[in-house]
């Protein structure tokens, strides 16, 4: 991991904060709307754990890139920060989609009868560009929302540390 000790801790905390808040808030939203049970019924426990670990890893890598050259603990340009998290949020969305696609393709290829693979693969190849655009848009939007939340919490942290420094 690059950077000095405070920067490494900030990167680790922000990445885990983003992944955890996104997943817990999504679960809460889905549960209160009654859609979680059916989703869980189709999700193997090991696959669920693996997908969270994959999201955590892609979020860490993209957060690391997003924070390059940004001093979160010091002074930073708020607009540049939100632009950066929007861009790397989009990259995170695409990276996570790639992981999902590998899991889905491997699972589907193992399940379909021999000889019917090429049609399925052609469909996947056709759908991939559209899915990438959607995942980038969703990732960018989530990144921008989390970036705005980050800014508020960074300001709170500065006040907390300034009052006692």
């Amino acid at each position: 991991m690059n950077g000095d000790p405070p920067q490494r801790l900030v990167t680790w905390a922000l990445a885990t904060f983003h992944a955890t808040l996104f997943v817990v808030a999504s679960v809460l939203f889905a549960y209160t709307r009654g859609g979680l049970g059916s989703l869980l019924a189709n999700l193997n426990t090991l696959v669920g754990l693996g997908l969270f670990a994959a999201l955590w890893a892609t979020t860490f890598l993209t957060t690391q890139r997003a924070l390059e050259g940004i001093d979160v603990l010091g002074t930073m340009d708020d607009r540049a920060f939100v632009r950066r998290v929007f861009r790397w949020g989009a990259a995170n969305g695409m990276a996570f989609l790639a992981v999902l696609a590998v899991v889905f393709l491997v699972g589907s290829l193992a399940a379909i009868p021999a000889g019917s693979g090429p049609g399925f693969l052609l469909f996947a190849a056709f759908a991939a560009p559209f899915a990438l655009v959607v995942s980038a848009a969703v990732g960018g939007a989530v990144g921008a929302v989390l970036g705005v939340i980050d800014l508020g919490l960074v300001r709170l942290a500065r006040r907390l540390s300034a009052e006692n420094n």
């Binding site: 905390a13 992944a19 549960y31 049970g37 019924a41 193997n44 426990t45 090991l46 980050d150 907390l160």
Partner: protein
């Protein structure tokens, strides 16, 4: 792999992560503010692990997950809401620690005692709700 063994392992990992997060916050509050920066690394590892295994625990219910209109469901909504609050208020604590621990280590104890007390109390509340969900 034996599904029951997997669910048991996920539960134990969940409990272990909670013990580390709650026990660590209480330890920093009571004994050693100098450990705050180290604890923050462990806290986020525990938070991610708790989220991951928490979803795994819910996954064990599958389609049998009680509806949010039941008493159990309402309690789960309260628990998840408290977790969201805890995670959101933990980021400023970590950033404040990162700012002070490396720039002015002598001031860490002053600023963080209240924050670690809050973290410990909120984790204790989440544990109490979790016990009720498991046995209530």
């Amino acid at each position: 792999m034996d599904v029951h063994l997997l669910h048991l392992a996920v539960r134990w990992l969940h409990v272990l992560a909670m013990a580390v997060a709650l026990g660590g916050a209480a330890l920093v509050f009571v004994l050693a503010a100098q450990l705050a920066a180290s604890y923050e690394w462990v806290f986020w590892l525990a938070a991610g692990t708790l989220a991951m295994t928490g979803i795994g625990n819910l996954g064990a219910f599958g389609a049998g997950l009680p509806s949010p209109q039941t008493g159990w469901g309402t309690t789960l909504v309260v628990k998840l809401s408290v977790v969201v609050l805890l995670v959101m208020l933990s980021l400023p604590r970590t950033l404040a620690v990162a700012r002070l621990a490396f720039a002015a280590p002598s001031h860490v104890a002053d600023v963080l005692r209240t924050l670690y007390a809050f973290t410990s109390a909120t984790f204790a509340l989440v544990v109490a709700i979790a016990i009720w969900l498991a046995h209530g």
